[in-house]
Structures are given as C-alpha cells and as structure tokens.
Symmetry: C3
Subunit: 343 residues, 3 copies
C-alpha cells in the first residue's frame, strides 16, 4: 500500500487540509496511530485524537472539524466511517486476485474450471468437479468428486469439501472449515451403534461466508442448506439436514442440531446451542450461550438455557442474584408466623 | 447410482406395485421427492406422501398400504425404514473403496502397509508407521512416526495423527480432526508457565468414529483412550489422560477435561462440559449444555451447570421462570405480616 | 528411549536402590506400570505402588521410602515430581529437532529462513516470509505472504497463518489452528450483510502456545494480540481486535468476542464466553462455562451466565436446587396467612 493524501481524497471525494503529498503506507486504529499510516475519526468520542494522532493522514467527518489546521493531514468527508469502508474495499479489490493452476495441484482430468480461476499448490480437485469463473482455491484444499463451486468464491487453505456438495457464487470459506462431513447418525443395537449412511450433501447458496474451523455436516438423504447471504463465524457446528434461510448471522462456537429449520435475518449469539427438529422464525435474536429447545416466533429475543424471553430471563436472574436475601426474608416470615402462632 | 425397481426389490426382498422397470438415479427425503429418485415411508405420519410423492419409486411398510395402485412405483416390505438402511449400506459398500498409493504421497521407507490400502496425494506417512489391510487414508493427511492404524479404517482429508498414537480396526475419522496434540499441562512459576512434556499417546479402540475438527490430546505419560464402538461428533475436545469406555455417543462441541474416566453406553449432549478428574458411570444421560462437576452414578440423567438431576433441574427452572411472581408473593406476605404486626 | 538406571540417576542426581543396570525403554503412569518402563512416586497416596509396580525403575521422593529394598529399582531424590519433569524435558530436548527443507515444500524465492530451520513436505511458504533460527514447520502448513515467524517456534501439521501475521520466538502452535482468518465484521443493509474488510493482522508474542483447531482472527485495522507467555488450549475462538496480556491460561472451547482487552495472569475456564468490548483485569479466575458480560477487576473469581462472584453464584445455586422446597414454604406461609386472616 502506497498512496498520497490527494490520491485518497480523489477516491472518496474528500477535501484536504494539510499536505496533499503526505504519503501513507498502511492503516492504523485511531488509538494507536503510526507515522506514515492512515486512520479515520467518525465519532465525537474519538475527536480528541484528531490533532494528536501519530498518523500522517486522517479521514474525518466534517462535523468534527473545528480548527483551521491540524497536526496530521486531514481529508474531510461527510461520513468518515463510510468513506473509510469504501476505501478499504477499493484497496482489497486493487490487490487483485491470483489466477492459474499452481504446480503441485492435483487435478482430475474430468474436472472443469472457468476463466481466471486460481488453484494453489497441493490442492486436490477430484473427478467431475466444476469451478466457476474467478474463483480462488488456495493451497492444500480438498475438493471431493462431483462438487460444484460457483463464480468468484474464495476457499482458503485447508478447506475440505466432501463429495457432491454444492457452493454458490461469491462464497468465502475460511481455513480448515469442513463442508459435508458425515452427519452424526447411528442406530443403537445391543452390540453397539450401527452407522446410518449419510448420503446427502451440503448446499451453500450465493454470498455465504463461513469462518475458520467450522463443521457443516451433509444431509442424511437430502441436503443441509445454508441460505443466501448468511454469514457464519468460526468453530460452528451445523448438523445434518439443517436448513438455514437468508441473511442470518451466527456468532462463533454456536451449534445447531440436526433437522432444525431457521428462517431469515436472525442473529444467533456465540456459543448458542439449538436443539434438533425445531423451527426458528425470522428476525429472532438469541443471546450468547443460550440453549434453545423449542420453536420460536418471528422477532423473539431469547436468553438462558433453556432459553426464554430475554427480558424475563434478565429480571429473573436479578432475583437469582439476590436469592440468599430472598431466602432470609422467607426465614423471617416463617419466624414471624411461628411467633404469631405461639402468641 | 442407477437401479431399476426390480433390482432394488430383489436386494430387500420386497413386492413391487407398479412399474418394475422404473429407473432411479438418486435418493430424496420424502418431503421433497424428485422424479427419478427413491425414498421411503415407514411411519403413519408420512403416509399422505405415498400417493403424492414425485419420487419414481418408494419403499413402503406393508401396513401403510391401503390402495391397489399408487402414482409412484411401490416396493412393499415389512419395515421400510430398516429396508432403506440395508439398501443404503449396500449401496455404500458397492461404491467400492479406493486402493493404491497416489502420486505425491510421501512415504517413509520404514513404514509398512497392508493389502488394498489407499493413500491419497500429499499425505505424509512417517517412519515406522503401520497401516492395516483395507484402510483408506485420504489426501493431505499427516501420520506421525510409529503410529499404528488398524484394518478397514477411513481417515479423511486433513486428519493429523501425532507420533505414537494407535488406531484400532474399522475406525472412521473425519476431516481436520487432530489425534494426539499435546495435553494442556503447564507449571506456574513466577516468570511464567513452564511446559510439562506430554509424552503419552492416544489409543482409539475398534469401531470408533470421530467427526470433523475434533481435538483428542495425548496423555501426559500414559494414554488417552477412547473405547470400542464409541462415536464422537464434531468439534469435540477430549483432554489428556481421559479414559472413555465403550459405546458412548458424544454430541458436537462437548468437552471433557483431563483425567476424567467415563464408563459405557453414556449419552453426552452437545456443548456439555465435564470437569477433570471425575468419574462418569454407565448409561448416564447428560442434557446439552450441562456442566458436570462431580462423579455420577449409573443411569443418572443430568441437566444444568453445575449439572443436577434433570427432572429436578426442570422443576426448579419452572420456578426460576416465575421468579418475579414468587418475589411479589413474598412482598405481599411481608406486607401482610407488617399489617398484622401493626394491627 | 533406552537408558539404564544409573544414567537416569546421574541426570537427576539421585541415589540408586537396586540394579543400576536396569534398562528402561519407556515411561508409564504409576497406576499402570509396565516392565521395562520408568515411573515416579511423589505423593503419599501413591506410595502403595512403590513395591508393587511392574515398572523396572521408579523415581521416588526420599521421604516416602521406608524399606531397605524394593521390587523395582528405586532412584531416590528429594522431589520425585520435579526430578521426573526435569528428566522428561531433558528427554524431549535429546530427541533433537529436525532441520532442512523437505522435498515437496513450496518456497517463494523472496522468503528467507534462519539456520537449522525445518520445513516439511507440502508446506507453502509465501513471498517475503521470514522464519527465524531453529524453527520447525511441519508438513502441510500454510504461511501467507509477509508473515514473520521468530526463533525456535514449532508449527505442527495443518497450521494456517494468513498474510502479514507475526509470531514471536519460542511459540508452539498445534495442528489445524488458524491464525489470521477474517474477523466477523459485516454491515447490515436492506439487501443483506456487506463485508467489512479485515485488513489487520495477528501478533503472537514470545513463548505463546496455542492448541489444536483454534481460530485467532485478524484485526479489522490494527492487530489481534496474544501476549508473552500466554497459553491457549484447543478449539478456542479469539475474535478480531482482542488484546490478551501476558501469562494467561485459557482452557479448551473458550471464546472471546471482538475488541475485548484482557490483562495478565488470568485463568479462563473451558467453554467460557466473554462478550466483546469489555476489559478483564489481572489474576481473574473465570469458572468453566461462565459468560462474562461486563468489566472485571483484578483478582475477581467469576461463575455463571451472566457471570457473577463465584461464591455468590454457588450459594444462590444451592437455593436454586431447593427451589421446589422454597416455593412450598411460600405456599405454606400464604396458607397460614390466609388462615389467620380468616380467623
């Protein structure tokens, strides 16, 4: 990264206060700015940093500017947060995507790839795999047979995709996530557990992002489905036959048990557990560490294990915290009651 | 997969109602049948699908059949669920297992493999490793020195087995699971934590299945052991020196801390935590998200964190849900009591 | 491993009782000793094993010795536990570290490595990577561009380090851990979630150890930092922008949400969740499965979800366990009260 203040101001349509030739070679958070770096101030509570920052260039929201000059070079814009995001997105796109098949990738002759596809070293692409235009498969990835991967996907190093899984367009899958491992299905017999074959697959629709070290199990017969635009954090368990709708966000270490159906626009907190075979509506919020064990309606906010209405949980938890006092009050009441009886 | 109705009927000893030449090329869940697919109906509550399904062929339990003909071709059997399982198992076996060492696998000269072993590309087999007949080691697996793997095992892509670990016969280990990483053992000193060497290993007995992204740590001196027939889901932590008996099922994201001993035929729910150095009996059921911090006897059913008898937990939790009302009742009692005192 | 009793006695400055030529080829836990193995007895409660052990040689604390001779050969020392640790550390160092670049590693020409570095097969070392003297990179590791790895580190098979991350000296990272995957940052729009670029990195300071299958996300703009001497178990989530101080121990399956700041010498239990944007002091102990949702002061001991003072939580939980009885007492009080009113 190497830009001048005026180049940056051009990208985001900003007004320069200071040195238009100021050079930046990196970005810093505002609290720990470094010389030669760019940062931004979009909120009143960070305004004190504007004149003090060691950064060479700051993007600042107009409304926060009160002086004529500042120590760093300022690029004034209407919304500094938005402008910074735009800039960072631009920067990432400018980085360019790799293309070509690196030496050392193993490629089955029946596999087919689109244009501008990158496949890294030590990646295995099995028979009949299809990879769409512009997709980037990093080194050391495993792609099982008959897998379909859409356009402009990124699969980072160490991702494993089992046979027959389907990945839509514009999906991102981070390192060491496993797509399509066997669902946990066994039939008890008196001699032990008998494996139930897991013959389905996993379908990720378009614009799905999955973090690192997740496990998304294949369906028993049909598909485990993750809907369009749903974003999944790290270390998450999605069991077999789960159907997740569109635009959900699921935080790290959550787990969803088998055959549960989840609607759209839900927010599922970290370390949440959802039991199998239930239905979660739309726009539900589930607080971190909750355990959901029954159907939920649209718009509910849940907390606790088992999860109940979050407001109710919090009120009850306040009483739980005072439980020792409450028991003392009951003791007193009993004493009084006895006293009265003895009177 | 391509079979006719009569081929399938033969496999499972069924009676055809309809077109014995009906061709199937896949399987579907009954709720979302597809033309050319096979499904099954074994329960009354799915019987409505029998005549409506888009599947070309259905396996149906005799007792659910009331009509002379149906829209799809029917294969009537006594127990459709069982017949379907048998068929799917047959199908999986027919798929055949790969054999041979693929180009690009690294194989130490002192390693030895049995007959019909498959080792995929970019897999490392270290010195003195032994792999039994019929085992399948997928690409990109790491097998440390002196590891022993039994017969007919499957290790999927990205599995890591550290030095000296032992895997029995007929074990299945899914992608990116780690067998034998160091136990979490450190001695505090005033300058920081000093690592305690972890010199033991992990032993998986026969017929163990482990899901994806699990961590099974090696023993400090002796072995971490997972007993015969125990099945472990995804993202599970088994700490050093843990001993797990036979035929347990452990659901996703559970964690078992160091040196705990677990008996046979237990059911451990998702996201359960079990502290170190305790004993779990046999046929214990632990509800999801529970935290077990003391020894348990055979047959106990546990819930909560810390876990108590599950029925007791549920009853108390009902009161917890009503806690605000309960406190109001106490307030009233106190008011009454004061009133009386003031009378 | 092959040593005589007298060699071992020399290493740890011990006194032999028995056969100084006794040969040992392995180590066992004292409860399950094997012939030809070494073990130790440091505590009174294991003293019964001294004369009965099948081990050929035992290291025993002087104060536990009461007889003139024993069945196994004894090496008497002041503190058997300490002596055994010293010995095991010596042994591990004697094993030697590998060095050299194995065939099949991919090495960018702009990468540079120090002396006595080992890089295993199928490992990718990207452009401008620097690896310090004596570091050991196992097979099948991915190291992104501009990554810096210090001296004497060990990265086990399957570790992934994304671009620009920095690893200090003497760090150990176990298999399939991911360093530097994207933080979970999205902006909601009416059409779905828009990805916020994650342009920062991860910094591990010196003497950090991280278990297997962990996810440490990169900072959004700045760095996610894990301080000197901090030890992290398996399957742990560290979100973007988290700052962890020195000498913390974090047990398996814990998760720390974005931008939280953690001090020094804390003990964080298994499956603990810590919300984002809070501050944890120093020498705090957080019990397993707790959910911490507010700032904590130095020395606090926390338990529960949400976490409160651990002693308080335990006392209240005793009442929770008796909740049914407590409600009966309230019922009785109400009955009495009514009786009195009716009197």
């Amino acid at each position: 990264m190497e830009f001048t203040a005026s180049q940056i101001a051009n990208f985001i349509n900003g007004r320069i206060i200071g040195d238009e030739h100021a050079l930046i070679t990196g970005v810093s958070p505002i609290e720990s700015g470094e010389e030669g770096h760019l940062s931004f101030v979009a909120q009143e509570r960070f305004a004190e940093h504007i004149d003090r920052s060691k950064c060479s260039v700051l993007i600042v929201s107009e409304k926060l500017l009160t002086e004529k000059t500042y120590q760093p070079t300022i690029i004034a814009v209407e919304d500094a947060y938005l402008a910074f995001q735009v800039l960072m997105n631009l920067y990432q796109e400018m980085q360019g995507r790799k293309s070509g098949i690196e030496d050392g990738a193993v490629f089955h002759e029946s596999a087919s790839v689109g244009e501008n596809v990158y496949v890294g070293a030590f990646t295995c692409v099995s028979e009949k795999v299809k990879i769409g235009d512009g997709s980037q498969i990093y080194p050391q990835v495993f792609i099982g047979k008959n897998v379909k991967i859409g356009k402009n996907c990124v699969l980072y190093s160490g991702v494993r995709v089992y046979d027959y899984c389907v990945i839509g367009d514009n999906c991102i899958i981070h390192s060491n996530t496993v797509i399509g491992s066997d669902g946990f299905g066994f039939q008890p017999t008196k001699d032990g557990y008998q494996k139930i074959p897991q013959l389905g697959n996993v379908i990720l629709e378009d614009h799905v992002e999955i973090g690192s070290n997740c496990s998304i199990d294949r369906g028993t017969i049909g598909s485990t489905v993750i809907g369009k635009g749903t974003k999944i954090d790290n270390l998450i368990q999605i069991a077999h036959n789960v159907k997740i709708g569109q635009n959900n966000v699921i935080a790290a270490q959550a787990g969803i048990a088998g055959s549960t159906v989840i609607g759209d626009w839900n927010q599922i907190g970290g370390q949440v557990g959802i039991v199998g075979h239930i239905q979660i509506g739309n726009q539900v919020k589930i607080q971190a560490q909750s355990g959901v064990n029954s159907n939920t309606k649209d718009g509910e906010i849940l907390y606790g294990s088992p999860a109940i209405n979050a407001g109710e949980y919090r009120r009850n938890y306040v009483h739980f915290r005072n439980f020792t006092d409450i028991v003392k009050r009951i003791n007193n009441l009993e004493l009084n009651s006895k006293d009265k009886t003895n009177e």
